[in-house]
């Protein structure tokens, strides 16, 4: 594979990693607080729809982003109400949210815009545009490093940079702040948090709502940064890939970056691979195998054949004061 192809694969790796990474980090806040969230897919989709609608009707990408975050948080609040306040089953609530998002976005989209569920095509000005980092054009012709800086690092939109910066930020929040300590504690032993005089409910809602913010940004990225409108089911299972990445990352932000890059790379890699055979092997890799590989890898990891993924101990269980 030659150099330019590699560079373009890596470039699309970054683009494809972004939404997964955002969802994965969001899921990290939720699951670290002890609330499993298989509804991330739905939150992202719903947020993407909100972004598409808001950007189209206001003409502002930032209002689109804001609407997306609001939409993500709205569904998070629903998940929180079901799982924290009503102590409902977290898996069931997540499943419901995924269907609710799929149904609502398609129904409203079709009813409002009559374009088979798509929101109107956006002007470039109402999307998040690529940003040229300082000096990108200047160093463009420097061998090796120039194209890497210009083609790979520079030239992405704001949300891409936000996603990658969220990794160290999340690490810092989780391991270096009071909120992070409490968040990790409540996912492991909520009774310990409760007896320390801290509200389990508030902490868990915080984790779940932060997850909604991240899913919201991810949705905005899909609809008004990567694409120029919302189209039905555009999340296409990325929320589940993010969950797989979270398991792969063992609920650690730095691991999340690695896992998401790996899955993003696999997705990017599948594109030039279409129909090509692996050099030296003369053997065509079915593209479906590449598509399925994040899921297969996750299953192998879950089976404990490559290390053990131990979820937060209190995850999935509603907190009830013991009698």
């Amino acid at each position: 594979m030659d150099w330019t192809i590699l560079l373009s694969v890596l470039d699309s790796t970054i683009r494809l990693t972004t939404p997964i990474l955002l969802c994965c980090l969001g899921g990290l806040y939720s699951e670290r607080s002890g609330v499993f969230d298989i509804g991330i897919e739905g939150k992202m989709l719903f947020a993407a729809f909100a972004a598409g609608v808001a950007a189209a009707s206001t003409g502002s990408a930032y209002l689109g982003l804001l609407a997306a975050i609001g939409a993500g948080m709205l569904f998070s609040a629903l998940h929180g109400f079901a799982c924290i306040t009503q102590r409902g089953n977290q898996i069931i609530s997540g499943v419901a949210i995924n269907f609710l998002a799929a149904g609502m976005t398609a129904l409203l989209g079709k009813a409002w815009y009559k374009q088979g569920g798509k929101t109107p095509q956006l002007e470039n000005a109402t999307r998040f545009q690529p940003i040229d980092l300082p000096g990108a054009q200047a160093v463009k012709d420097v061998p090796v490093l120039g194209p890497i800086y210009e083609g790979l690092i520079s030239g992405h939109n704001l949300l891409v940079y936000a996603a990658f910066l969220a990794v160290p930020l999340t690490w810092w929040v989780v391991y270096r702040t009071r909120f992070g300590l409490r968040l990790r504690a409540v996912g492991e032993n909520p009774a310990a948090v409760d007896t320390a005089g801290i509200s389990v409910t508030k902490l868990r809602y915080s984790g779940v709502l932060i997850c909604g913010v991240f899913a919201g940004v991810a949705g905005a990225y899909l609809a008004i940064a990567q694409s120029a409108n919302f189209s039905p089911n555009m999340s296409a299972g990325r929320g589940f890939i993010a969950l797989a990445a979270l398991i792969f990352a063992k609920w650690n932000p730095v691991g999340a970056l690695g896992a998401c890059l790996l899955f993003g790379f696999l997705e990017a890699f599948a594109i030039p691979l279409q129909g090509a055979s692996i050099p030296g092997l003369g053997w065509k890799v079915p593209v479906q195998l590449i598509t399925a590989s994040p899921y297969i890898l996750t299953v192998i990891l879950l089976a404990g054949f490559i290390g053990k993924a131990i979820p937060p101990k209190a995850g999935g269980v509603a907190y009830v004061k013991e009698r």
């Binding site: 270096r176 702040t177 032993n189 009774a191 948090v193 409760d194 320390a196 005089g197 004061k321």
Partner: protein, 513 residues
């Protein structure tokens, strides 16, 4: 009862109901500053509820709490902490994959960032370690610490939060005698430094050993408060139970027959490879009750689970009625039942019963494969109910409705459901764990009588109980377990103090010297 010292804590007319259960009835309790005050009572007497109210974990329906003479409005644990009250819970409230330090600062981080608070807590821990003999490495993970040290972290948590009054809820249940002794030493140091201690326990020995005053609770009521120096274990026991304790169960001498259960060199390890049962050998003959005494957590539960086939052993042999069973490779409860081993488990709600099932369905648990309940693969609910109805009548289980959800039966009746199931199978060997835990007095007598009747019918019974009185009054022989080993065999008439020494791991020879 004029206390010379000012009062640290006053509970006035505290009342609390959980649905139909009246957990605390108009409770009054005064605790003098700088004393160790014991609160004793049977399981379910309402001690833990009362302390949870004081700590803000529950809210009383009515009543008043005073701290240092002033009314305190304690609605949350945060309020309790602010009022200078700390609590060491029976089940530790620690985050296991956190370091000691992280657990200490949880809730009192001292700022939005951890760094400053951690440094301060580190210094404070050093200081407390010197003051109270409370050494612990702040950077160790909780899950790597032994139970005794985990408890120490709990005490440190309370002290770093500025606790002047410390509540300890059944603190010795999980401790070895040596750890318990160390704990009591720490409690004395704390008292000498002016702290007030509330010790919640159901163990008379501890009350007599460390407290200055003792209050007795029974069925949600506070029945008496005494100076410890002016009372006796006998009086406290009577107050706890509510009438003269009949330590003697009416029984004739045992007529032991053939050896029905034989255990040779049995060793069981837990998932961390620690030996929970360590090279244990003994036998039980037909027509006798062999009791196993010991502080809970010394391997009795694992022994019972292994004999029942639930837990695998790593080595050793078991013989049922002379027939060998391999506990290493053939551990299987169904197989043990086939061999004639019945098992009344220690925790009936968690293990012995499926609470959402109707009564009749629980009456066949473990024996459901029998053709009496349907031929082959099929199950015949009518046959099951008919069979359950017979047991309900025989064991006087109330209400006598075999279709009622098991969760709706009282503790004593739930235990009778289990006993009826296990006894009516005509087993050769009956394993019984904590037969009367959380069971009311009337049912206790009934259950004891049934066990004696089983013995007299020629069954071999192995009895495990943490209630030494129960062991002594029912058993024909007593084995004492300590740290996974059987450290002695005594007759049930043996002096309680001597058995106590064995339970504490001090062998008789040493004790005699």
């Amino acid at each position: 009862m004029a206390a010379p010292l000012p009062l640290a804590i006053e509970l006035i007319h505290i009342d609390k109901k959980f649905g139909a259960v009246h957990a605390n009835k108009d409770i009054n309790l005064s605790v003098a500053k700088g004393t160790i005050h014991g609160v004793i009572g049977e399981n379910g007497a309402g001690k833990s509820t009362l302390m949870s109210i004081l700590y803000g974990f529950y809210h009383a329906d009515s009543g008043e709490i005073k701290v240092n003479g002033k009314t305190a409005h304690i609605r949350t644990s945060q309020d309790a902490i602010a009022a200078g009250i700390g609590m060491v819970h029976q089940h530790f409230m620690l985050v296991e994959n956190f370091s000691v330090l992280e657990n200490i600062i949880l809730g009192v981080e001292g700022g939005a960032l951890l760094k400053g608070g951690e440094d301060k807590a580190r210094a404070r821990l050093k200081q407390l370690a010197d003051e109270y003999e409370l050494d612990v490495d702040p950077d160790q993970l909780i899950e790597d610490l032994p139970v005794g040290l985990q408890q120490r972290v709990e005490i440190l948590k309370a002290l770093t939060r500025g606790a002047e009054t410390l509540i300890l809820d059944e603190p010795t249940g999980v401790l070895t005698p040596a750890e318990a002794d160390h704990l009591f030493r720490i409690l004395h140091i704390l008292k000498d430094q002016g702290k007030t201690i509330l010790l919640i326990t159901h163990k008379l020995r501890e009350i007599m050993a460390v407290t200055d005053n003792v209050s007795v609770m029974r069925r949600g009521e506070m029945v008496a408060t005494r100076k410890t120096s002016e009372t006796s274990p006998q009086e406290l026991a009577e107050l706890m139970v509510g009438r003269r304790v009949l330590l003697e169960v009416d029984k004739s001498p045992a007529k032991p027959g053939k050896e029905m259960l034989r255990v040779e060199n049995l060793t069981v390890r837990d998932e961390w490879k620690v030996a929970r049962v360590d090279n244990v050998s003994f036998n039980v003959r037909a027509g006798e009750i062999v009791g196993i005494a010991g502080v809970s957590g010394n391997g009795q539960s694992e022994l019972l689970a292994t004999l029942a086939g639930i837990t695998k052993a790593v080595s050793g042999k078991i013989f049922i009625d002379g027939e060998p069973v391999d506990p290493v490779h053939e551990a299987d409860p169904a197989r043990m039942r086939e061999r004639g081993v019945a098992h009344v488990p220690e925790d009936r709600q968690h293990m012995g019963l499926v609470l959402p099932f109707e009564e009749s369905e629980n009456s066949i648990l473990g024996y459901h494969e029998s053709n009496a309940y349907g031929s082959g693969a099929m199950l015949d609910p009518e046959a099951v109910r008919a069979d359950a109805a017979i047991k309900v009548r025989k064991f006087d289980i109330r209400p006598d409705n075999v279709r009622l959800k098991t969760a709706n039966f009282s503790g004593g009746n739930q235990q009778k459901i289990v006993l009826a199931r296990e006894m009516e199978r005509d087993p050769k060997v009956l394993l019984v764990g904590q037969p009367t835990r959380g069971v009311d007095i009337g049912a206790i007598e009934f259950i004891h009588k049934q066990l004696i009747a089983m013995r007299d019918a020629g069954k071999a019974i192995l009895l495990v109980s943490v209630e030494l009185d129960e062991i002594r009054s029912l058993s024909d022989r007593v084995l004492v377990m300590f740290a996974g080993r059987i450290v002695g065999e005594v007759s049930p008439e043996t002096d309680e103090g001597e058995i106590g020494l064995l339970m504490a791991g001090i062998e008789r020879r040493e004790a005699a010297e």
